[in-house]
Amino acid sequence: MTDRYPGYDVLAKRWTQSWNEVTRQVIDRRLAVPRGPRFFSATEWRTLNAVCDRIVPQPKDRPPVPLAAYVDQKMADGMLDGYRYAQLPPQGEAWQRGLAALEQAAQEAHGGPFHTLPVEQQDELLHRIQKGDLIGEAWGGMPCKLFFEHRVIPDITHAYYAHPVAWNEIGFGGPASPRGYVRMGLNRRDPWEAVEATPGEEAYARRKNHRVD
């Protein structure tokens, strides 16, 4: 489905009562994330970008959310989760080992680097990691299933759904301080919330969504 909330842009509320100063600064910093790697090597970076493209495939008609950049930022800045499964190494090491093992698996199964494989073959490898089917020395004893569940998935998907572009897609109101909300009940929408397009009413929704302030 495309454009469930046509024309809705949460950034349009930037100067309204829904955004305080600290929120503006935080979102500015997020949008300005450095696009190149500080933590990952060039090879790891290529693999990571290809993995991100499959975990959260993005439409071609808008600039992509730079997911690999957020993963790199988390590793480079040492932003921790607060817990680590005993079978997993520290987060940066887990990523480096996991990406190297994925590369090796791509070579063994398909004779080429992961990022050059057709998406079907990429997905098949990722499914095998998710199921825990990939083993071998390259994993260094790290269970690939845990790596997938506790590194690959959260690090990539959290970055996506923390981005205003994702909020636009799902019609999330986004920042809400200090104004908050007034219309609380079922089927109630505040004028600063996204309008969902019903079939045949896309133009109406688009018009309303240009005025969410």
Partner: protein, 554 residues
């Protein structure tokens, strides 16, 4: 301070803010309030390690009782109005995200749902759900046949609950449907959002009672707190100060009464004297280790950091850690089952608006016709996008286009989530791992496995919650089978030094001037969120210490 003036920064992480005779005014951007300070080499009456639901009320209660008190917190001292963004990721700065190793058959996810690192502790980001225990839970072994008895009497706790509800200006219903009579809540209940309306409809279809949830966010002005404006970012810090966290309630009271707060101060070891009494604490602040002398030490770091500190303070004389002659420090860790059922409605629910849990049913905390021990409640839900994608990925294994398609249903989602009583088990515990954190302290290893009773309760709750969602016409229903939240145990209170760590007054059996005052002291955890009980126990402990001191028994 002994070494002269401390640098004060506008970045709460860069340098301590509570210094130079003043502490942040949490109600004013850039504001300050005066703060008394104590010398490190003169023993203060009490040091309190941790400033959350346990440490906060104790700081205020002891300072108001005329004691010299210093509260330590490893986290920063925030001013919500200037420091809190409306943003899930940014506000992870409120969590304890230092490394901890988790293992066992059901490793506990640490972080936002069970740990805080800020002045005010996890009350800065808690969901504000403020519930009383069922009276029988204080004697669950003798009255209900499971767990362990508390050394506290429920009638005394009922009075302290009333005091805690008043101190935190709890908003709640006129008549609470379960348990013995209680006074009306100080503030009127909040209105329901769409998600809460659906809980109510579902409960009524099943013939179960429900009620607006008693919440620690004001529904009308209180002091400098404005009424809640229903932002829905409660679990990421309240940027308006409507939430009645420790940061804006007991901590300002404590400062006014002469307590000192030391922020960005990580306590690493309690030092014992040759006389068998604690003589102070070693703490890390501004890049170096310091020592504060004290006549009494209170540990209030919650169920991971409290046993970690007691174990890390081991000496030749106390090889198994402090207050641990029973061998129970770190054992009987409990979390609460936090499974959920989610579905999709035709209507727009927009569940992110307002506090996340505006309606509740405690039916199965009070109905004993079930084939497992303990109880549970369930509440309406309103996860924000990052948390919601965690649910979708961890419960359904979704990624790729399938994940994006499901996420687009966000504004139509509805959900019910349990808070369930897990039973104490000595095999669930906190120990010290070999690896060290940034302070050079050994990190906690948290070992957890669910028991058969825990699993039976979870299945019962999932079935009940699913029935409720089906009754309101939800479709695409799925279950979140693996989630836990609050913590308890690891330094349980009791009547017998052989089977408990502290007595009813939170005083350790082994070391007369070492106290533990937080959720660690819970012998059982009950089927409701623990914060109001922690607060009530802390208020009681403050009264008890004042009474003991008056009799010369400290």
């Amino acid at each position: 301070m002994r070494d002269g003036r401390t640098t004060v920064s506008t970045d709460p992480f860069a340098a301590p803010r509570a210094a130079n005779g003043r502490a942040p005014d949490v109600f004013k951007r850039g504001g300050w309030v005066p703060m008394r300070q104590y010398n490190e080499d003169e023993a203060v009456d009490f040091v309190i390690i941790g400033t959350g639901a346990g440490g906060g009320p104790l700081l205020a209660g002891l300072a108001e009782g005329g004691f010299s008190v210093v509260g330590f917190d490893a986290g920063p001292y925030f001013r919500p109005l200037e420091d809190f963004a409306s943003d899930e990721r940014e506000q992870e700065k409120l969590y304890w995200t230092d490394e901890r190793v988790v293992d066992g058959a059901n490793p506990i996810t640490m972080g936002g749902k069970n740990s805080g690192k800020a002045v005010g502790g996890s009350t800065v980001h808690f969901a504000m759900v403020s519930l009383r225990f069922r009276p029988e839970w204080f004697k669950s072994r003798s009255a209900l046949g499971y767990g362990a008895d508390w050394p506290l009497d429920w009638r005394e706790m009922w009075d302290y609950y009333t005091k805690a509800e008043k101190a935190l200006s709890i908003s709640g219903p006129l008549n609470y449907p379960w348990g013995p009579k209680r006074p009306r809540y100080p503030y009127r209940a909040h209105e329901l959002n769409g998600a809460a309306e659906l809980l109510a409809r579902g409960a009524e279809a099943m013939g179960l009672k429900w009620t607006p949830t008693p919440l620690a966010t004001v529904s009308a002005p209180h002091g400098k707190s404005p009424p809640c404006v229903y932002r829905g970012f409660c679990r990421f810090g309240c940027s308006t100060n409507a939430k009645q966290s420790q940061l804006v309630t007991f901590i300002p009271r404590a400062l006014q009464a002469g307590a000192e707060i030391r922020d960005l101060a990580m306590v690493g070891r309690i030092e014992m004297g040759t006389d068998g009494r604690a003589r102070g604490v070693h703490y890390h602040r501004e890049g170096r280790w310091r020592f504060q002398k004290a006549r009494n030490v209170v540990v209030a770091g919650y169920a991971i950091e409290t046993p970690r500190l007691l174990l890390a303070s081991a000496t030749d004389k106390y090889p198994n850690g402090l207050a641990n002659s029973s061998g129970l420090v770190g054992k009987n860790l409990m979390t609460q089952s936090n499974q959920a059922v989610f579905g999709v409605m035709k209507q727009e629910v927009r569940w992110n608006k307002g506090p996340p849990s505006l309606a509740i049913t405690e039916h199965w905390n009070y109905d004993d016709r079930k084939d497992f021990a303990g109880g549970y409640c369930w509440m309406a839900q309103g996860p924000l996008p990052v948390e919601w994608v965690s649910v979708q990925t961890s419960s359904r294994g979704l990624w790729g286009q399938a994940l994006r398609d499901e996420m687009e249903k966000y504004n139509h989602q509805v959900g019910l989530k349990m808070v369930g009583e897990m039973l104490p088990d000595e095999r669930n515990r906190v120990t010290l791992a070999d690896e060290k954190d940034r302070y050079g302290l050994r990190v906690a290893r948290v070992t957890y496995s669910w028991g058969d009773n825990d699993k039976a309760m979870i299945q019962h709750a999932l079935g009940q919650m699913q029935t409720s969602l089906e009754a309101v016409g939800a479709t695409d229903i799925f279950r979140q089978e693996d989630d836990t939240n609050h913590l308890a145990g690891t330094a349980r209170m009791g009547d017998d030094p052989a089977t408990s760590v502290v007595n009813a007054d939170c005083r350790s059996w082994d070391i007369p001037n070492l106290w533990i005052c937080d959720g660690s002291v819970f012998p059982t955890t009950g089927g409701v969120n623990p914060s109001l009980t922690i607060t009530s126990i802390a208020m009681r402990t403050a009264d008890r210490i004042r009474a003991l001191a008056a009799r010369g028994e400290l």
